[in-house]
Symmetry: C2
Subunit: 428 residues, 2 copies
């Protein structure tokens, strides 16, 4: 057996304690699979005396993680955040020729390329399987298992908080607000939930996946982002009636106008693999030109699943397996052009609150016709005369720019009582 | 860029032509992802002049694949079969210090360990991602992405032919025989289908997965195997009524009595991930102690998907990534004890054809009670008096040995007109 691999773990929150737990629980299994012992040569966190799930007695404590760098072969960064100590630690470790394993999506989405360049220079590893989709080994799959494919599309449910909220809304007919409160009570959502529910977290993860799939630097500023706050129970119920469910998707696709990256709520067939990803689970569907459609599902967060990916990266280093962080050397990454949402072509769901009077539908469909938008289905429930009526239209594939124009025109109609509510439909 | 990696492809059937196709279609993409060119330095097949999907003009032809060994860095064995030329070629290549990529599950299930030993001795790669589940990178996932986990259970729909037949039976209400004929017509089943429908192919793949999951040599002789010929349309319809669907599963699990490997038709919840794997698709569910449940789905056969995995393995070699074939060095593989079916504990579906007369059910339930088998549900449709009646029982978890005893006793009852028909239920 080779000499032990010494690791230093910085950050002892949920994932840090989960990681410690795996090493404590089955050191022999890991050692036999790696052909060498993995030794925890240092731990560090803000507060030594915080009550933790994991016992840290007997492990070498460092008041600052930077002081561990000299003592270890690998820094495991589980602090989080795209700047501050996390960034300083990772940079310093790489500059000093130490490999880094991190679960930090914000850091990789914003600074992954600079960091990859540092890792390359020193010929060390920078690995971040745990940054996307928790325990699902999707980064490794895009990088090696599916490496022979050109990807048409990569679609993911990448945020467990949002998926928990949307699943609750659908199953228990609760409003967004109620479902959010419940998620907060259960620890699935933060007190300040905007990072999750406004789609930012999904955007970080999507940018990383797209970078890997298309051999380009993560372009977080080229992701269209829309969260789930505007999804109403009414939309959820109409979706069910139409055979759909609503999911927050991150989608990266090759289009004629370049790579289009977008994060927004989507209607997907309820009986499709992505439509059946419930609760805090994550799911990713990749479409490759050779492999066809491949689908992955698993827990997207939590101590065990995320630690599973962190430890897998550490084990690769112990086994001497070294991929480039973004598969290709940084200098070989393509500078691709990115497309904007105006070029998106998809099907749409449109819900209108209208006064029930003759001619409303004629006006609406006239506007759609002017924009060459063709209808796929139409839904209106019976109601009392004079009431405000909800009408729901779905369209065939049409351009986002045309849809936007139509929505503006429809919103101006006197009989339309609220701004039209649109949700994109993703055909899987 | 490093010097080109020279490969020799032996066998130019579906997968061989698919593999050629990927190299012809996007050589630049592959070269950029590997940092070097992959050069087809030789091809060989039984018949040079056979009509093929792929154009082989301009590629160096060898009448025997053995003659390619000297000219290449990697032998790609796509001949098939657990002996004959396939085995001779792989052995000779490894002995001569050449890496091998193969899609040959029979060869790996039967002789994988000897071959791994040869590969280790010469420090070359033996890779077989394409041997299990076509385009799904499940071997890599068990080996690296999920390497931090101890696996409770690995369950797979691993044979596209069987899954196509079972899906047809369920969707189109056809008999096994009709569905098989249809599958043969479409090229999804062989003229001699027993390798697929009797579960042998699934057993090969399961033994490989279990070897990887449990760090042991594939033990193909320790797999209980039962195919799908006995599944009737009637069972399929009762399954649907009970919320189940019938799938041919390969299951490896850690039990108190050792590793239990089994291949047989199972009822699984129709709305579960495995229950929703339709047609020629494959699906694998792995349960790890840290990651929880992870699920993979994709095409399990065909030119593109299988070639996707073959080429991924070749790309790993081009990139200098080298895992041990079964993750651990051969000498470190555990010799585990295996359990037999008598120790299996699961739920059961039992269908009985009985004469409709008073007391039948009392007799049957009396026998179940004697074996301490507790009922979960009971189903009997209305019928004409005096007719033979189908009654269906499902049980709570019980021992296979008890179930077998009960079935023998039930089969002897005068009112029971056919041998009782049992299908195991897998709770997911």
């Amino acid at each position: 057996m080779s000499s032990p691999l010494r690791i230093g773990i910085a950050g002892l929150g949920t994932v840090g304690c989960g990681t410690l737990g795996i090493f404590r629980h089955q050191p022999e299994l890991l050692a036999s699979r790696c052909g060498r012992v993995i030794e925890i040569a240092g731990i560090s966190a803000k507060n030594k005396n915080k009550k933790r799930d994991s016992d840290i007695k007997g492990l070498p404590w460092f008041d600052t993680p930077l002081a561990m760098i000299d003592k270890v072969d690998v820094i495991v960064e589980l602090i989080g955040g795209d700047g501050g100590m996390a960034r300083q630690l990772v940079e310093t470790a790489l500059r000093n020729g130490k490999s880094v394993v991190t679960a930090n999506k914000a850091l990789i989405a914003h600074h992954g390329i600079e960091l990859a360049r540092l890792a390359e220079k020193r010929n060390v590893v920078l690995a971040f399987e745990a940054a996307v989709a928790g325990g699902i080994p999707i980064i490794k799959a895009l990088r090696d298992g599916l490496a022979a494919n050109r990807f048409r599309r990569v679609i993911g449910i990448l945020n467990g908080t949002c998926n928990y909220i949307l699943t609750s809304m659908r199953e228990y007919h609760t409003s967004f607000g109620e479902a959010l409160k419940e998620a907060q009570k259960l620890g699935y959502a933060e007190a300040e939930p905007s990072f999750d529910v406004d789609g930012i977290d999904t955007a970080h993860k999507l940018a990383i996946l797209a970078g890997l799939a298309y051999g380009t630097a993560p372009a977080i500023d080229k992701v269209y982002v829309e969260g789930i706050r505007r999804i109403s129970l009414r939309d959820m119920e109409f979706a069910a009636e139409l055979g759909y469910t609503i999911k927050l998707l991150g989608i990266a696709a090759e289009t004629e106008q370049g790579i289009l990256q977008r994060v927004h709520p989507c209607m997907v067939a309820a009986n499709s693999p992505l439509g059946a990803v419930h609760g805090v689970y994550n799911g990713i569907l990749a479409e490759g030109d050779s492999v066809g459609t491949v689908f992955f599902e698993g827990r997207g967060a939590g101590a065990g699943p995320t630690a599973s990916s962190v430890v897998a990266d550490i084990m690769d280093i112990a086994r001497g397996v070294a991929y480039k962080p973004f598969t290709l050397p940084v200098e070989n990454l393509a500078s691709l052009s990115f497309s904007g949402m105006e070029n998106l072509c998809c099907s749409y769901y449109l819900r209108l609150s209208v006064t029930d009077r003759p001619g409303v539908l004629a006006e609406v469909t006239g506007i759609l016709k002017d924009e060459q938008i063709s209808l796929r289905s139409f839904l209106q429930h019976s109601h009392q005369p004079g009431e405000t009526v909800q009408i729901v239209l779905t369209t065939h594939e049409t351009k986002e720019s045309a849809m936007k124009k139509a929505m503006t025109a429809i919103g101006k109609l006197e009989s339309v009582k609220e701004p039209p509510h649109m949700i994109r439909i993703e055909n899987l």
